[in-house]
């Protein structure tokens, strides 16, 4: 349905919330659009990000990938801004623009000189309601998306492994499905599927507009009202929880793909941050990830790469800020002559050590020093600052989390880290190992040497 783009003065009065905390303004317009503004006056530029709370986790079987396909289609034209013109108009204003789709959200962004924000807002508001989604555009763009899937997933053994591990680690929760979608779903996706998706989720009351940069919050809000204020809110579908049932024992898969090196990825179910004040484990998990992998001298790299030389690369990561369930990852590539089984044992024994002994004061302080410094370094990027706000808002966490985070992390104790590590249980674990298959076209020797002979 088309919404007329007229200015509605009544909306000027429609501020529902007052500024939340220092230098961040947070208001919700009458039509449900949340507007968050972060001032940063270092350079005469601004970033605008529009976050839709609609990601791959909101999809259904058979049409996986539609969130991302719609993201592509959002550049394919409205009545007022024909196909291809969106990017051209932003570019002509000296701007950069792009978009990305995640499990939890789809985000569109522009970076511009500060006085050119009206152009970005006008274009975003237009395509929030007036996208055309023509069959012929869709037929072409779905080919592009399949090429993207080939590039990112099919031809990248570690991506294939990640995709397959997720499909096993989660039994019910939609995080089991790849963001880009299964190939067969893409092959059978229709323009109507994208239209349905757009009609269901693209509405002001399902979006958050985040602006960071050299701007005046009141002017940004007035501009948002002017451009987005007349868009009608929609009744949003009920989101089912799809809670993951308790895992009953380790899950293990072997993935064969053309590759040169084996690889191991372990995924434990882990808690998610829901109440920043009361939750303890998520903060402890963040520190645990830092102790294991936060810097070059962190445990995994120090012990497994530098000292024991079991691995050429290792990593650990905690994904605990999301709409869906959290996960804790361990990964690594075994050194020549070492097996994935040895690497798996070594990674587990590092976890076991922390479960038994906790971590040292020195290690804790080291991780905290990095958190403190990181908090300063991030101020160098307004894009990143906007990203953090958009993510927190989309998950539904309070924005002052960003202010409190530092204190919360500083307060984590060795005992809390130990308790967190104890949650990393075998019964909670899914493991994938990459089993390298020969790469075509190499008669017994490497492609590299083959090319080298040409000289």
């Amino acid at each position: 349905m088309k919404i007329p783009m007229r200015f509605n003065p009544a909306l000027l009065l429609a501020i529902l919330a007052a500024p939340a905390f220092s230098a961040v303004t947070d208001v919700t317009l009458d039509n449900g659009l949340r507007v968050i503004v972060k001032e940063d006056h270092r350079a005469p530029v601004a970033v605008s990000q529009l976050w839709y709370k609609a990601g791959s986790m909101d999809e259904f079987n058979g049409t996986t990938g539609v969130a991302h396909v719609l993201e592509h289609m959002m550049f394919q034209g409205t009545e007022k801004v024909p196909e291809g013109q969106f990017s051209k108009l932003i570019a002509a204003a000296g701007g950069k623009e792009n978009a990305f789709t995640n499990r939890d959200e789809t985000v569109y962004f522009q970076q511009l000189q500060k006085d050119r924000l009206p152009i970005a807002f006008g274009l975003e508001a237009d395509r929030m309601a007036n996208l055309q989604l023509k069959d012929e555009s869709f037929a072409k763009e779905i080919q592009v998306v399949m090429e993207e899937r080939r590039m990112r997933t099919e031809d990248n053994p570690q991506s294939i492994l990640y995709e397959q591990l997720m499909s096993v680690a989660f039994q019910e929760h939609p995080y089991r499905r790849p963001i880009i979608g299964w190939m067969n779903d893409l092959e059978s996706l229709k323009a109507q599927d994208a239209r349905d998706w757009y009609a269901r989720w693209y509405a002001p009351n399902n979006a958050t507009l985040v602006v960071a940069g050299d701007v005046n919050p009141q002017e940004v809000i007035a501009l948002a009202k002017k451009e987005f204020g007349s868009l009608a809110r929609k009744a949003l579908p009920v989101r089912k929880p799809q809670d993951e049932p308790e895992q009953r024992g380790v899950k293990r898969i072997n993935v064969k793909a053309p590759a040169k090196l084996p690889y191991l990825l372990m995924a434990f179910h882990a808690p998610t941050l829901r109440d920043p004040e009361k939750d303890v484990a998520p903060w402890a998990f963040m520190i645990l990830a830092g102790v294991l992998n936060g810097n070059d001298s962190a445990r995994l790299n120090k012990v497994l790469v530098k000292e024991k030389r079991i691995a050429v690369d290792v990593g650990a990561g905690y994904d605990g800020m999301s709409r869906g369930p959290g996960m804790f990852f361990l990964e690594g590539t075994p050194a020549q002559g070492k097996s994935v089984a040895e690497l798996e044992r070594s990674l587990k024994s590092e976890i076991a050590r922390i479960q038994k002994e906790g971590v040292s004061e020195k290690e804790l302080n080291r991780v905290k020093a990095q958190v403190i410094a990181g908090d300063v370094f991030q101020r160098d990027s307004i894009f990143y600052q906007a990203m953090q706000l958009g993510e927190i808002a989309t998950i539904g966490l309070p924005l002052d989390l960003l202010d409190k985070r530092l204190d919360k992390l500083k307060a984590v104790t060795s005992e809390q880290v130990r308790e967190a590590a104890k949650l990393l249980k075998e019964d909670n674990l899914a493991i994938a190992t990459l089993d390298p298959q020969p790469i075509k076209g190499e008669p017994g020797k490497s492609t590299l040497e083959g090319v080298g002979n040409v000289r």
């Binding site: 570019a91 000296g94 410094a373």
Partner: protein, 438 residues
């Protein structure tokens, strides 16, 4: 109407001058001959310091390919009595991060630290030590070499990496730019500790070093730091066995198809093109913005992706180096449509070289580049990147001040003329990785 409103506002924007905050670059040379570039800025309590040397992979020999990269990678793996682990811990203790830069031209290190005295001084001590007193412990060389070899093997599973390596070899042969940046498995395997020590002593010299600094520090502190770094490096300038190649000596254009298990073909097409200080630089740069350098605004992506859905990414770029660097056109597409996509890319380039851009396209490119200039210098890390490039390629100190003027001055004729002289669609090298090699 929305569209009208849009045009009006654009016209209005064109009339007012962009509020560009200038970048004040301070520049001096230490008594040891190190060139220093400094931008003082106290907005954020942090500091970036980078030190670069002309010690990239182009200075390798085919027999010892990978020596430059291995030496560079070993700098922070043991220095001044500190082990690799102690170095990492000292940095982590103060929340600092040390990063390496290594490419065909440059080998360098950059430090990002808080500017508070305790953190800053501890972090700078580590930076200075790894630059001045690397120890190249034998057993760590073995480990790091093994990791480099593992990375080389893993790269073989990635068709894009295989293609790039083959492409540079096709273009440059045994010229330094043709050597793989991180060497080959056989040559890395042969390198000895003394090779690394000699390499370091010859190539990491004060007379060749470039120091770039950005952030929360005074001029006096910056001078002191630069002197401290410079005076403790091997003195003088590198003696290089490296001989520049005359244009006539580059290999003739070749076409190579490399089989791979990938579902897509990775296609690279191009030729040796221009150096960083080339008089055609801005004409080619702005022209390429129209041809393949500006994503959805450029002809190549329009033809290959927007019109035909052949690829997710398709682009062209000039990669100017000290000597002529390549002009590259690239795309990836499913194996069965490789030739169709390649033909579209070739035709697009040929047509562009023959006709040049339209005046509307040139205006669009200039509006984008000039209007977008403030975004290029809106963070400390971006300004540091420019300082490093200005220093290394010896660009004018007014490079950033003049940038928009230089872009604006480019004419249609200059682009047409430069592309006709510099890009020859009939003489391009081609690499295709994917499918069966036919």
């Amino acid at each position: 109407m929305f569209a009208n409103r849009f045009l009006l506002s654009l016209t209005a924007l064109a009339l007012c001058l962009p509020a560009i905050a200038g970048v004040n670059i301070q520049n001096w040379e230490t008594p040891q001959g190190t060139r220093v570039y400094f931008v003082e800025n106290h907005d954020i309590p942090m500091l970036d310091v980078a030190v670069d040397f002309p010690a990239g992979s182009r200075f390798d020999t085919p027999e010892m390919s990978g020596l430059a990269a291995l030496t560079h990678g070993m700098l922070d793996q043991g220095a001044g009595g500190m082990s690799d682990i102690v170095i990492a811990q000292r940095l982590a203790d103060v929340g600092a991060s040390l990063s390496g830069l290594f490419d065909r031209e440059r080998a360098g290190a950059s430090l990002r630290t808080l500017s508070s005295v305790r953190e800053r001084d501890a972090a700078l001590d580590v930076l200075v030590t790894v630059l001045q007193k690397p120890e190249f412990p034998q057993s760590i060389i073995q480990r790091e070499r093994a990791r480099m070899i593992a990375a080389l093997r893993e790269a073989e599973s990635r068709p894009g990496d295989v293609a790039e390596k083959a492409f540079y070899q096709e273009l440059y042969g045994n010229h330094g730019y043709g050597l793989p940046e991180t060497g080959t498995i056989p040559t890395l395997s042969k390198l000895k500790r003394s090779d690394l020590q000699n390499w370091y002593r010859n190539y990491y010299r004060a007379g060749d070093a470039i120091i770039s600094m950005m952030g929360d520090m005074t001029r006096a502190e910056a001078e002191q730091l630069a002197l401290r770094i410079s005076s403790g490096l091997p003195q003088g300038r590198a003696t290089s066995s490296y001989k520049p190649t005359l244009e006539a000596k580059y290999p003739l254009p070749q076409e190579k198809r490399i089989a791979h298990s990938s579902t897509q073909s990775h296609v690279l097409l191009g030729q040796v093109a221009m150096a960083r200080k080339d008089p055609d630089y801005f004409a080619l740069y702005v022209g390429n913005h129209v041809l393949g350098g500006s994503g959805f605004n450029s002809r190549i992506l329009d033809e290959v992706r927007q019109k035909r859905g052949f690829a997710y990414s398709a682009y062209s770029y000039f990669f100017p180096l000290v000597e002529p660097g390549p002009f590259v056109i690239g795309l990836q597409t499913k194996v069965s449509q490789t030739n169709d996509a390649l033909n579209v890319a070739r035709e697009t380039v040929s047509k562009f070289v023959t006709e040049g851009p339209s005046s509307a396209e040139l205006k669009q490119a200039k509006d984008n580049l000039i209007g977008g200039f403030p975004l290029r210098i809106d963070s400390n890390s971006e300004i540091l990147g420019y300082l490093r490039a200005i220093g290394f390629y010896q660009l004018p100190l007014t490079y950033l001040d003049d940038w928009t003027k230089n872009v604006d001055a480019v004419t249609l004729d200059q682009i047409r003329d430069a592309f006709r002289r510099r890009v020859n669609p009939e003489k391009m090298s081609l690499v295709i990785v994917g499918g069966d090699a036919r």
